[in-house]
């Protein structure tokens, strides 16, 4: 059976489009939430039990909804934002809401790894809370943050496969519609191989960057 390279190439571009755009917005959301989750917790620099008490369960709720369901649940919101609930761009909205909270937990973990002594030193120097986040927490957690984003990106590639449910396209969609539903094993194989290669490359870049920023010679 022939594998249509046009379809594959198109799917690759769709996947890259969905992953990059939703990663961009998801990372902004995730960083913001992750930082808030860290600094507002008990005993931290901007302790605030109200903010923490609201954000924390909201993140949990989004984390507990399976993506395929979130995709459907968010249709009204998607329609509001992009004007339609179908298509590649439309898939980005639920992807952001899926990956944002996920990234926030990863960011939270990374930031919590930073030694309390660093924060203490920052406070002793008279750093403002914003300076502590900018100049101490983030730089110190940076290598770990890079790995977090790497993990999130790979998770995102997996999630885009489900975007086919709302006509999002992409490699996962091709694998299902052409391969699985039409018994075109070759197409399935090719798309799966491409996905594997993608994941390998991203993980490799992540490790390389992490290693670079870890400053280990």
């Amino acid at each position: 059976m022939e594998v249509s390279y046009e379809i594959i190439l198109n799917a690759i571009l769709e996947t890259l489009y969905m992953v990059s755009i939703s990663l961009f917005f998801g990372a902004i959301l995730g960083f913001a939430l992750g930082i808030i989750l860290v600094v507002t917790r008990k005993g931290h620099i901007l302790e605030n039990k109200w903010i923490f008490g609201i954000i924390n369960p909201i993140v949990n709720i989004f984390r507990s909804i399976p993506f395929i369901i979130l995709l459907v649940l968010l249709i009204p919101l998607t329609r509001l934002i992009v004007g339609t609930a179908i298509g590649t761009t439309a898939a980005i909205v639920p992807l952001v809401f899926h990956i944002g909270p996920y990234i926030s937990r990863l960011i939270e973990n990374s930031l919590l790894e930073v030694d309390d002594g660093i924060i203490e030193a920052a406070k002793a120097m008279g750093a403002t809370p914003f300076q502590i986040i900018r100049k101490f927490l983030i730089p110190e957690a940076f290598p770990s943050l890079v790995l977090s984003v790497t993990t999130a990106t790979i998770g995102l590639i997996g999630a885009t496969a489900m975007a086919g449910a709302v006509g999002g396209g992409g490699l996962g969609d091709v694998a299902i519609t052409y391969g699985y539903q039409r018994f075109d094993e070759m197409t399935t194989l090719v798309t799966v191989i491409i996905l594997v290669v993608f994941v390998q490359i991203i993980q490799m870049i992540g490790h390389k960057l992490e290693h670079h920023f870890r400053r280990v010679s």
């Binding site: 030193a121 002793a124 120097m125 008279g126 110190e140």
Partner: protein, 339 residues
Amino acid sequence: MDQINLKINKGDIFGVIGFSGAGKSTLLRTVNLLETPTSGKVLVDGVDLTTYSAQELREKKKEIGMIFQHFNLLNSKTVFENVAMPLLLSKVPKNEIRQRVMEVLRYIGLEDRSNAYIHQLSGGQKQRVGIARALVTNPKILLCDEPTSALDPQTTKSILNLLKKVNVEYNITILLITHEMEVIREICNKVAVMENGRVIETGNVLEIFSNPKEKTTKNFVQSVVRDEIPEFIIKMLQDDNPSKRIFKLKFIGENVGQSIVSEVAKKFKVDVNVLFGNIIELQEIPFGNLIIEIKGDHRECERAIQYIRLKDIQIEEVAANGSELRNYSQRNFGNLIYG
């Protein structure tokens, strides 16, 4: 912490010693309000820090440097960037930062490592960087949180020397906490002993070392000045001649201890043997004890002892069981230092 009242004067190297959990770390952190006291005042230069706004406090903290047991340096930054950090936070112009940082790095002897990352440094070098970072803003006060507890003895010595140098050359008041009496002996001029959140004893280092009152203080002092009677002397008393008279002299200051032995031997018809001695230096003053044997006619011995006592040297006779000492000195030894 409860009822702590300490006054630290400008130029002091004030040591706070205590076992872990004694509250010394909390005390130190109260001085720059990393810990806020529930009641009481923290006066720095006569102004109560607890009345400051968050903004004012941040400014004030720039006059109070701090170094830590585990250095708390940024692993993601170079030595230069670490030291520059306090200036960067105050938005000092770049060229000024460069100049000041290199100046401080030269002072601590690490200018050639300015581009190294923290993990490439030894423990001693890391603490030097910590000190440089604390000094870069020209503080008036330096808080030291167990600065040498993570370092080996030799490195400890070099860091303590550096702190002393900083104290003298920049006239920076140092408040230091430690659990090692050796650190206190090495550089402090004043000491406070803490236990269970209270200061149980405080004073001049010479005073505390020569005349500790509380049990904990005595234990700490003994970790540096070993003044228990050595085993062989107790054996000597028990086995040999029970009529042997052995004495322990405690002394401070030049000449006093050493010369008294020859003085007594000349003045009276007695033989004096030095059996054991332990002398340390406290603020450049010799301080320690000698164990001597006085041989001779009973009357002459008593006269010799009287003579020593009148010289204001604490003299105690060592009994055969080693523990019970007959104290010949009526006067409080602590007064000797100033009197």
